[in-house]
Amino acid sequence: MELANLSVLLVWGAATALAVALIAFAVDLSRLSGAKVDARDAARSRERVAVGADAPVDAPVSPYGPDDDAGPGPVAGPVSRKLAGIGMSVTWLAAALLLVAIVLRGIAAGRTPWANMYEFTLVGTFVAVAVFVGVNTRRDVRFLGAFVTGLGVLFLVLAQEKFFIEAMGVQPALQKYWLVIHVGVAICATGIFTVAFVTSALQLLRDGRDNGSPLLGSRHWGWLDHTPAPAALESLSFRLNSVAFVLWTFTLIGGAIWAEDAWGRYWGWDPKEVWSFIVWVVYAAYLHARTTRGWSGTRAAWFVVAGYACVLFNFTGVNLIFNGKHSYSGL
C-alpha cells in the first residue's frame, strides 16, 4: 500500500511539473508573439528571397511550397528562449517523476502497470511527453511544448480524479504476456498520435493565419509565426503518424491474436474492436488523403484531427458508455 500511495503522490508531482512547464512554454510563446510584427514580414520576404535564389527551375507544386522550408529561422533571434529551456527541463523532470510513479504502481500491483484506464492514462501521458522530449533532442520542437504539457496536465488530472482505482491484480482473462505487448503497443501508439495531433492542429492554425483567416490574423495568434511553416509541421506530423499507425496496426493484430485465446474468436465486432478498426481506417484514409490531389495538406490534417478524436473516444467513450468484453477500466 505504501508504494501505491507514493505512486499517487508522484503522479501529482508530475502533473504539477507539467503545469509549471506549461506556464513556462506559454509565456515563452506570448513573448515571441510580442516580438515586433514587422519581424514576421521581414522573415517572409527573406524566405521568399532564399527560395527564389535556390529553388529548382520548376519548383515542386506542393500545397505549401518547398518541403524544406526553414521554419522559424532567424525571426526568433532577438527574443530570449530561456523560458522555453526551463519548460524543457521541467518537462524532463515530469517525465522522470511519471516513470517512477508508473514503476512503483507496477510493483504495488505485482504486474505490468497498464491494465486499467487509470494506468493506461498514466503511461499514455508518459509516452506522449517522452516522445516530445525525445524528438526535441533531434530537432527543435519546443513550440509544441505548451500543447503537449497542457494535454498532459489534463490527462493526469483526469486520471487522478476520474479514473483512479486501487492497485491490484487482474482477472484471469488479462493474465497473459499479451497484456504487456498488446496494451503496451497501444499505449505507445496513443502517445505518439497525441503529439502528432498537436502538430497537425498547429499546422491547421498556422495555415489559417498564413492564409489570412480573420480570426487567426489577430495579434493574439502572433506566436503562430514562430512555429515552423505548415509544410514542416505536416512532415513532422506525418512521420509521427506513420510510426503510430504501424504500431496501431500491430495493436489490432496483437489484440486479435490475444482475443483468439482469451475470448474464443479473433474478431467479434465488440465495441472496442469496432472503434479500433474505425481509428485504423481513419488514419489509413489520412495516408491516402496525403497522396490525393486536392486532399493533401490542410485537408489531410483534418483527418488527423478526426482520427485523434476517434482515438480519444475509443479510450474514454467506449470504456465508459458501451458494454463490451473489453470492459477492463475497473470503474
Binding site: 500545397p63 529561422g73 512532415s235 485465446d261 474464443g264 478498426f277 481513419v282 484514409a285 490525393t292
Partner: protein, 609 residues
C-alpha cells in the same frame, strides 16, 4: 555507355500519388516528358469526368477508372469508418441477442425500421458489405496495374546524372589525388554496399563527354528504395488475402457450446452440444470424434480487501479420449484453450450445479439431477430452475425457481445474496409454483427459464410467497404438502465450454503479418537518388561532386551523400559545407537548432569521423 539514360522512368508518372510533388521528376527537367504526372495514364485524372457520349463500353471504362481512383478509395474508406459506427451503438444479434429483443420492445416503430435496414446485424448487412467489397474491388483494380508497373520498374536503371548539382537539396564535394575513374568506382562500390546479393543502391557507372568548362567526367547514378513500392503492394495484396481467408474461415468453421459438470463428459458430435453453429461449407464428417471428461474444476479468488472476491484463476482438469482410445489428462484455463485435433476448446464460464432431488406427495422420485445455476454477479449469486414433471398420476407439475448462494447472506427482509464466490456457507433459496409447466407437449423449452405466468405460486397466510431454504445434505418439506426436496451433500461445479474449429486461422495470421511487414517497409524505406561526377579540376586534382535527392522530407539524405563521398580514396578534402544552400548555412549558424528537414549539420559531421 556514356551517361546511360533511364527512359524507364515512366513509373514515376504512374506511381506518383496525385497531389504529391515528386522531387524525383522535378529534379530532372530533361526527363519530364516521360515522368510528368500529367501522363495519360487513366487513373491520373479521375477528377475530370470526360464522360459524354462514350457509349456503354466507354461508360463502363469510365466507371472503372472512377472506382479505381485514389479519390474514390478515399471516399470508400471514410464511408467504411462511418458505417462501422452504428454497430457499436446498437445491440448486435450475434453478440447480444437479448439486447436486440429488449431494444425492439422499447422502441417498437424505430426498432422495426432499423431491423429492416440491418442495423442489428451491421457487419453482415448489405450496405456494410457493399462498401468493403467495392473498396476491395477498387483496391485490386488499383494495385494490379501498379504491380505490373513496379515489376517493369524493378528492371529499370537509375536516372542519368543531371547536368548541374547546385540546386539539389543535399550535396557535397571533395578533391582527391585518385583518378576520376578510381574515385567514381569507389563511390559506386560504396553505394552498392558490402552485401553483394543485397545492394543498398542500384548503381550505374558511366562516362560523360566534356561540357562547357567541365572536362569529361566519370559518373555514378544510383537509386534506392524500390522496396518502398514493393512493401506498399505487399501490404495491399495481403489485405486482399486477409479478406479472402476470413471469408473462407466463415464458410468452413464450426462452433459448439456445451455445459459439463464434474465427473461427466461430452463427445465431439453435433448432437452433444447445447448450441451448435456452422458455416455453409461445413461437413459433419469434419468433426473428429474425440470425447472429453471434466475431472474437476478449481477456482481461486482474491480475499484481500482491495480486490476482494476478484477472480484470480480458473482451471478445468480434463481427460481427453482420442478416437483411437488413447487417453491423456489436460488442463483448460482462461487464455489457454486446449487444442484437440485442430479444434480449440475454451473455458468460457463456470458455476455450481448442485444435485437436487424432489420426492412428490406420493413419495415417488419426481426429479433427480444436477441443476445448472448461472452466476448473476461476481459473488456467484446464481439463478436456476427446476422443472418437476408429474410422475404420480393426478399430481400437478412443480416449478422451482430461485438462487443458489455459495456464501449466503440473508437480510432482515428475507432477501438473500451471496457474499463470496466460494462455497463457504452454501444455501439454496427457491420459490415454488404449481400448474402445467408444458413439459408434456414436447415443445422445446429453455431449461434456464420458467414461465410463471400461468402457474400458481405457493403463498403463506399473509399472501407472501413461500421460500424454501435448503443447505447441502438437508431434506426440506415443500409447501402445501407437495413433497420434499433434498440438496446433495457435495456441490459439483460445472464449466461452460466453447469448442471452435476454423481452418483458416493460419492464413489469417500470415496475411495480417504480411500486411504489417509490407506497411512498415513502405512507410520507412527512404527513396533516394544519389549522383556523383568526378573530373580533373583546374589545379590537376580530381574533383568529386555528389548530389542527392529524396522523395519528400528525408532527414538522412545529407548523411547518405556524405557517406557516398567518404568512399573516395586518397586524401579527400571534404568541402560539403561550403556548397550548401545559403539558407541552410544561415540556419546552421544559429545557436538554436532550427527545423531543417534536409540537413542535420551536427549529425552529418560526426558521420564522417
Amino acid at each position: 555507355m556514356a551517361g546511360r539514360t533511364s527512359s524507364r522512368d515512366s513509373r514515376e508518372g504512374t506511381y506518383v500519388p496525385e497531389g504529391i510533388a515528386d522531387e524525383f521528376t522535378q529534379g530532372e527537367p530533361g526527363e519530364q516528358a516521360n515522368g510528368a504526372p500529367s501522363s495519360s495514364e487513366g487513373k491520373q485524372k479521375p477528377d475530370r469526368p470526360n464522360a459524354p457520349a462514350l457509349g456503354l463500353v466507354g461508360t463502363l471504362r469510365w466507371m472503372w477508372r472512377q472506382l479505381t481512383s485514389m479519390r474514390v478509395a478515399l471516399m470508400l474508406l471514410m464511408l467504411l469508418a462511418v458505417a462501422a459506427v452504428p454497430g457499436s451503438v446498437l445491440p448486435q444479434r450475434n453478440q447480444d441477442a437479448a439486447g436486440v429483443i429488449e431494444y425492439l420492445a422499447d422502441h417498437p416503430t424505430a426498432g422495426e425500421w432499423l431491423d429492416k435496414a440491418g442495423f442489428f446485424d451491421v457487419y453482415s448487412s448489405v450496405w456494410f458489405s457493399a462498401i468493403y467489397i467495392l473498396l476491395f474491388v477498387s483496391l485490386v483494380g488499383c494495385i494490379l496495374p501498379r504491380s505490373m508497373a513496379h515489376y517493369r520498374a524493378l528492371r529499370g536503371r537509375p536516372p542519368r546524372v543531371p547536368s548541374r548539382f547546385n540546386r539539389f537539396p543535399a550535396k557535397a564535394s571533395a578533391t582527391t589525388d585518385a583518378s576520376p575513374e578510381e574515385a567514381a568506382d569507389a563511390v559506386a562500390a560504396g553505394l552498392r554496399g558490402k552485401i553483394s546479393w543485397l545492394p543498398m543502391f542500384r548503381v550505374d557507372r558511366g562516362e560523360e563527354a566534356a561540357r562547357g568548362a567541365r572536362p569529361a567526367s566519370a559518373t555514378v547514378s544510383a537509386e534506392r528504395g524500390y522496396l518502398r513500392e514493393t512493401g506498399n503492394l505487399v501490404f495491399h495484396l495481403a489485405l486482399v488475402g486477409l479478406l479472402v481467408s476470413v471469408a473462407t474461415g466463415q464458410l468452413l468453421h464450426y462452433r459448439g457450446q456445451a455445459i459439463v459438470t464434474e465427473g461427466r463428459g461430452f463427445a465431439n458430435a453435433v448432437v452433444d452440444y447445447d448450441t451448435f453453429e456452422k458455416g455453409s461449407w461445413f461437413r459433419p464428417e469434419s468433426l473428429v470424434p474425440f470425447s472429453m471428461t471434466l475431472d474437476n474444476f478449481e477456482s481461486e479468488f482474491a480475499s484481500d480487501t482491495v480486490a476482494f472476491a476478484q477472480a484470480r484463476d480458473f482451471t478445468a482438469h480434463v481427460t481427453v479420449t482420442e478416437p483411437s482410445g488413447a487417453q491423456r489428462p489436460e488442463t483448460i484455463k482462461v487464455n489457454h484453450p486446449l487444442v484437440v485435433d485442430g479444434a480449440k476448446i475454451y473455458l468460457q464460464g463456470n458455476g455450481f450445479a448442485p444435485e437436487i432431488t424432489v420426492h412428490d406427495a406420493d413419495g415417488e422420485v419426481a426429479f433427480s439431477g444436477r441443476v445448472t445455476f448461472i452466476p448473476e454477479d461476481t459473488m456467484y449469486t446464481s439463478r436456476g430452475v427446476v422443472k418437476v414433471p408429474d410422475v404420480s398420476p393426478g399430481l400437478d407439475q412443480i416449478g422451482l425457481v430461485g438462487y443458489f448462494l455459495p456464501t449466503a447472506e440473508v437480510n432482515a427482509d428475507g432477501s438473500a445474496r451471496s457474499a463470496f464466490p466460494q462455497p463457504v456457507d452454501p444455501l439454496l433459496v427457491l420459490e415454488v409454483y404449481t400448474g402445467d409447466l408444458g413439459l408434456d407437449d414436447g415443445s422445446p423449452q429453455n431449461v434456464y427459464e420458467l414461465d410463471t405466468a400461468s402457474l400458481t405460486p405457493a403463498v403463506d397466510e399473509s399472501g407472501e410467497r413461500i421460500k424454501v431454504l435448503a443447505r447441502p445434505g438437508e431434506t426440506v418439506e415443500l409447501p402445501d404438502g407437495l413433497g420434499t426436496l433434498t440438496l446433495g451433500e457435495d456441490l459439483p461445479r460445472y464449466v461452460a465450454l466453447d469448442l471452435r474449429h476454423d481452418p483458416s486461422l493460419a492464413f489469417v495470421l500470415v496475411f495480417a503479418l504480411l500486411a504489417l511487414a509490407g506497411l512498415t517497409v513502405s512507410l520507412f524505406t527512404p527513396r533516394r537518388r544519389v549522383w556523383a561526377r568526378a573530373y580533373v579540376g583546374q589545379d590537376g586534382a580530381t574533383v568529386v561532386e555528389v548530389a542527392g535527392l529524396a522523395r519528400g522530407d528525408d532527414a538522412g539524405l545529407q548523411a547518405e551523400v556524405d557517406r557516398a563521398l567518404a568512399a573516395v580514396p586518397g586524401g579527400v578534402v571534404a568541402s560539403g559545407g561550403e556548397t550548401r544552400p545559403a539558407a541552410v548555412v544561415e540556419a546552421a549558424a544559429e545557436d538554436e537548432p532550427v527545423q531543417t528537414s534536409v540537413v542535420e549539420p551536427v549529425e552529418t559531421r560526426s558521420e564522417k569521423d
